[in-house]
Amino acid sequence: MDALALEATSGKKTTNGAAAPAVPVPSQPPVKRKPAKKAKKAVVFFEVEILDAKTKDKLCFLDKVEPNATIGEIKSMFHKSHPQWYPARQSIRLDPKGKSLKDEDVLQHLPVGTTATFYFRDLGAQISWVTVFLTEYTGPLVIYLMFYFRVPFIYAPKYDFTTSKHWVVHLACMCHSFHYVKRLLETLFVHRFSHGTMPLRNIFKNCTYYWGFAAWMAYYINHPLYTPPSKYTCTYVFIDTTQCAIFVIHYFCQIGNFSIHVALRNLRPPGSKTRKIPYPTKNPFTWIFLLVSCPNYTYELGSWLGFTLMTQCLPVAFFTLVGFIQMTVWAKGKHRSYLKEFRDYPPLRSPILPFIL
């Protein structure tokens, strides 16, 4: 197989110069071989066969595939013969149990002979990341406001459309709403996604999480019997000052999180999927990159801690905790892949909490 591959590539090279009688179309025993099409330049076409990774059934046979065809193009060709499997749900790999090949991989640079065998796995119905994000973030925004305005059938009828008398409830509504509006705008204008799609069932999982928690938190914060933080919970300082400080911290973290998102976006030119090490920029909020790999998660944790202290509501604390656990898992994964990909990755950095985690 390797010899074939070598011959295939060297064949290509010589065709660039002159007509290539010296390196022939590999005249090999394999029965399936068709002679390459005669063109001005003797280009060695590939043949691609796609097998099902589980059953090994032959699903598709493509002949006369350009050597510089990408996996993405092959997926489109496969899609034509199997219209129910659009490219986003195809996983093409060299080995039935191996990793998926990337769309950008070029056929002739893969360790295959001129008859390439790929294995296909159906990833299931897919949905775009943007759609998922927009849906999962719009929910909390709307749901929280429904509780804030005390829409009927949530609380006792005498409270319908009343508003809370505690200023911290109004502040909490503004913070929560601002948070999700920020997320929606970032999804539309800031984030650059590596993958276009995710499995369809994720939207149900994610929306249940976000919408469920939003409803749970909003129910208590906007409840007529809500107990705002009082001077009994903070003995040393005038409660309003502490509350203001907490709000400032919360807001600070929101800005920090946004700054990190922008910094990460600027690492990646439009339309590309390159990965680079993020470094601190002129924006002071990004200086945390010196100590942390995923400061966006650090700031996010800070925001929600602030919100928890601001509202003194146990469900908010649960939400913060669950979010923190999930973000730590993601941060550790990201940190590990940074370390794997870049030899010169700054050693001082921790995944999410400076020096701790």
């Binding site: 208590y220 914060i221 409840h223 019997l225 809500y226 107990t227 009082s230 009994y232 919970t233 509202t311 003194q312 509501c313 146990l314 469900p315």
Partner: protein
């Protein structure tokens, strides 16, 4: 739930077969054998206790009190099985095992122990009996599997008795929770109301109702999973291959 299912995967992986991955080491195996033997013995004690109490009293009522302590001890001890999965000496899913053990522990402590009035209900005897028979068979199954001398009878029993025991146990559990409802509502057991400084509330009564409802999707899944396992395991008598 009275799941014979908890250790299905555990049993499969405990069997030494050609397709098994790295299994527990010698020390871990010895520990697991001791654990399973102790559990078998414990549930036998409960079984004997039930029979003796029945013979002494001459009726089915109120037998719970005669085995209350060993039941609590050995059922709670099953929490160790979650640890076994977490540490890796038993290649089962931590989440699945955790869920099944905790549901048993929940019924033992948060329902039967906590609501004194249901302890004399016959439904308690129903699920305790189901659990006892199931666990005796299950733990002996593991013991013999670990020692590589699994009598076919035990394997057959493990994959057949559940057909009756599982629904029996589920019925007992549901009836017990249902019987506990009025008392929970009256006393506000384990419930927190507003207003309070944590801005949190929890209604145990509603929670119990939701638990009962959750049996509807969960029980059939677990039951039919066991039926499928039965076909696989008992279908190939000579084949010791992986069950899952």
């Amino acid at each position: 739930m009275s799941a014979a299912a908890p250790g299905t995967s555990k049993a499969a992986h405990s069997e030494v077969g050609p397709k098994k991955k790295k299994g527990p080491g010698a020390l871990a195996t010895a520990y697991l054998v001791i654990y399973n033997v102790v559990m078998t013995a414990g549930w036998l004690v409960i079984a004997v206790g039930l029979v003796r109490a029945y013979l002494a009293r001459g009726s089915y009522h109120g037998l719970y009190y005669s085995i209350e302590k060993p039941l609590k001890f050995f059922q709670t001890g099953a929490i160790l099985e979650i640890l076994h999965c977490a540490v890796g000496i038993v290649p089962s899913s931590v989440v699945l095992t955790g869920f099944q053990v905790m549901s048993r522990v929940f019924l033992t402590w948060a329902v039967t122990h906590s609501v004194r009035e249901v302890q004399s209900e016959d439904s308690v005897l129903l699920f305790v009996t189901a659990w006892t028979i199931t666990e005796i068979i299950r733990y002996s199954f593991y013991t013999f599997s670990l020692l590589n001398h699994l009598p076919y009878l035990i394997k057959w029993a493990r994959y057949t008795f559940f057909i009756v025991l599982y629904p029996m146990g589920v019925t007992g559990e549901l009836l017990t929770i249902y019987a506990a409802l009025p008392y929970v509502q009256k006393t506000g057991l384990y419930s927190v109301t507003l207003p309070n400084k944590y801005n949190f509330s929890f209604d145990y009564y509603t929670f119990l109702i939701l638990v009962m409802i959750s049996y509807i999707p969960l029980f059939p899944q677990l039951y039919f999973h066991m039926i499928r396992q039965r076909k696989k395991v008992l279908g190939h008598i000579e084949d010791y291959s992986k069950v899952e």
